[in-house]
Amino acid sequence: MQIELQMKHRTLVVRLTGELDHHTADALRTAIERELDRDVATSVLLNLQGLTFMDSSGLGVILGRYRRLSQMDGRMAACCLNQQVQRIFELSGLTRIMGIFPNEELALEQL
């Protein structure tokens, strides 16, 4: 899995390419935590356009970051979900607690 990070104002944009499972979850957790520790980002946008697969391990990492952001009054959103990822988001209830957008621009406007 490839992780691309970019700060846009105070939003950390995380672009993922590849598969997010138990094997790749740690790398994503570490990458986002390191950025949040710098106390610059107040929100996180996950751009999942290049993510071809995600299972409950990926869900755990996303939920963990969502909780941290909630505690610091930050926000989290996701955009560009493919069909498989969308399904996992829906089944787990993530779509009810997090903004889901068709593209990055719309998501950034809302964060």
Partner: protein, 149 residues
């Protein structure tokens, strides 16, 4: 249940094998017929959850063998059995409950078995403490799932 073809996969419980395992099973499943992409995603997700459980829970910090047996079934279905020789499950009923996890501090969601149940037509978990775990799943092609129940 008539078996038309069979395969056995064995690998150590390294996390890099999770991706290999789900893709290998999906490739074998193509012998069943024309699955939709959604159905193949469902098979891959279910296998990924079962294999991850074996790696994280059954073997925890140790390394052991994970075996996947897959059978192509008469009537356009696939049977997938994921087995380990790990610590086993004490309370299977509890383990199958949505959101139940023994490792919440490791950001486990407890959704693994829920996904397997949602994505496959049959799910049977056999286990006992220190006796390993066997997860048996069956999926039928959507066109046939009504008749197969």
């Amino acid at each position: 249940m008539q078996i038309k073809n069979t395969m056995l996969l064995s690998f150590p419980s390294f996390s890099q094998n999770e991706s290999f395992a789900r893709q290998a099973v999906a490739a074998f499943a193509l012998q069943v017929g024309d699955w939709t992409l959604v159905e193949l995603d469902e098979i891959m997700t279910a296998v990924s959850e079962a294999v991850t459980n074996a790696i994280i829970h059954a073997y925890d910090q140790t390394v052991g063998e994970v075996r996947i047996r897959a059978n192509i079934l008469e009537g356009d279905g696939i049977e997938i059995i994921v087995e380990d020789d790990g610590i086993g499950i004490d309370n299977i009923k509890q383990a199958l409950e949505p959101m139940f996890t023994t490792k919440s501090q490791q950001e486990r969601t407890g959704m693994g078995f829920s996904f397997m149940e949602s994505f496959m037509h049959e799910l049977v978990v056999t286990s006992a403490p220190n006796q390993g775990t066997s997860v048996r799943m069956v999926k039928w092609l959507a066109a046939n799932s009504d008749t197969q129940g």
